[in-house]
Amino acid sequence: MSNRLAKISLPIWLTTIFGILMIIEFFFSMPKIVTDTNTLLRSWVTIVSAAALILGTLILTIAHVKRAYERKTGWYYSLIYIGSFVVAGALGLISVRETNFMWIFNNMTSPIGAALYSLTAFTITSAAFRVFRARNWKATVMLVTGFIVLMMLLPVGAAIFPPIVPIGEWIRSFPSSAGFRGMIIGISLGTIGLGVRIFLGRQKEHLGIREEKKEAS
């Protein structure tokens, strides 16, 4: 088998055949053999994804071990990662319902995650005070809209100024919804275009092939 056939042509053909199989099942009633094949393929995806998770963890660990071994900048953070990985991994392998593993989750993962997310409240407030200004008419529209929607979202907003709720809900349901709908349609059309390009073999990045752009003559 030639190198090109194995590395490029065959994966493109497989992608196209299985991709089309998945798409037609969505729109048409298909024979049992097709639906069974698709069910099997989808279950393969979950297995491959789980394997990819393990592979990703291994690659990350190897990178940290290498960094710590070579004493690169911030190598001590890598040691923290390796230590955490070994302890949590070992306890998790014993049992995810094991008390020590749950202790790590309840007393470390949970507060760290919540604290990290909560910090955005502080940084966004500081940033908004400095940047969220009515510098021109576009910024003024954004400021007024943001003010109304945030006021509407605050549980106390309606108690302070009752009309804020219908006004805010109108903004959310019409102008905001229309904008997001446009984005969703745009993304969907882009996804269809990308799919067609992959099926036709014009897009090869998913095979790890990065094609250089042809210079304009």
């Binding site: 069910t39 279950s43 995806v45 997310y117």
Partner: protein
């Protein structure tokens, strides 16, 4: 330097301190203010009410450590609500960490339930745990549960669970709830459950993501949406089962007012500065 310039260039640590006080005070000294119910929350609640008693309901639990404080109490209220309607619940998560948090939220709901409500694992609810594969995993689960998962979150074979005897695909469910809006996965549910199987679905996400999903609510693909801590508080209020969300929603009141006050102050001072011709 003028006083206006000094305030506009205020040290960010002062702003942080103010925010800390605004958030901490209502938690330490709770003051319950009136809460107006949003239409998205009312729609989501009415959808839950409309599910026939005893139906099978599919629930995606997508809260992680970061989003659990906001959306977790809402999911707890949802589980409580559906179990009191004798619904049979099947949980799954499409990322690894939320599988743990979903079980925490199930346990919280079970602890609140009156002793008269049946809530036995394997009989009234099943947690399938983490399903890998993202959207493809959801599609596979919807088509054939047993092709994706053979054991539940606790390692019990699903074929040994009485509740799972008659269900194997999305066709067997009366409704779905997608509690992982904060991980951006609500469209997975819409594309893989609502579209192909016509399964009515409601969702939840963090407050900032509500506008992302509003087109799905207005198109009817989502039957309603609980947004962030306020959505969770509204669910507790509508259900008449007070929980942690109501207290936290009060903290967001003061924090949010502080935020709006600062933005307003910044703009007033900025405009004054401009009118005076200062730079």
């Amino acid at each position: 330097m003028s006083i206006i310039k000094k305030i506009l260039d205020m040290d960010q640590r002062i702003i942080y301190l103010g925010m800390f006080i605004a958030l901490a005070y209502p938690i330490l000294s709770p003051v319950i203010l009136p809460v107006a119910i949003q239409d998205y929350s009312t729609q989501a609640f009415n959808f839950a009410v409309s599910i026939p008693d005893g139906s099978y309901v599919l629930i995606e639990g997508g809260n992680a450590a970061a989003t659990h404080p906001q959306c977790g109490p809402g999911l707890t209220a949802n589980i409580y609500h559906l179990l009191t309607k004798q619904c049979k619940l099947v949980f799954f998560s499409i990322t690894a960490e939320p599988a743990y948090w979903t079980q925490v939220e199930i346990d919280n709901a079970l602890a609140k339930l009156p002793a008269t409500v049946a809530a036995k694992n394997g009989v009234n609810w099943v947690n399938l745990g983490y399903i890998s594969g993202g959207e493809s995993g959801v599609a596979a689960l919807a088509a054939d549960i047993r092709s994706v998962v053979s054991k539940d979150h606790f390692g019990k074979p699903i074929n040994d669970l009485p509740m799972m005897k008659d269900i194997n695909s999305a066709k067997n469910f009366a409704a779905a709830f997608w509690w992982g809006g904060s991980e951006g996965s609500i469209p997975y549910g819409i594309r893989q459950l609502v579209g192909p199987y016509n399964l009515p679905m409601s969702g939840s996400c963090t407050t900032n993501e509500v506008p992302n999903y509003s087109p799905y609510v207005s198109s009817g693909q989502l039957k309603g949406l609980f947004g962030g801590i306020r959505g969770s508080a509204e669910y507790e209020l509508l259900l008449k089962v007070p929980g942690p969300a109501l207290a936290q929603a009060m903290a967001t009141n003061i924090g949010g007012l502080y935020f709006l006050g600062l933005v307003l102050l910044g703009n007033i001072l900025y405009l004054t500065q401009r009118l005076r011709g200062e730079k």
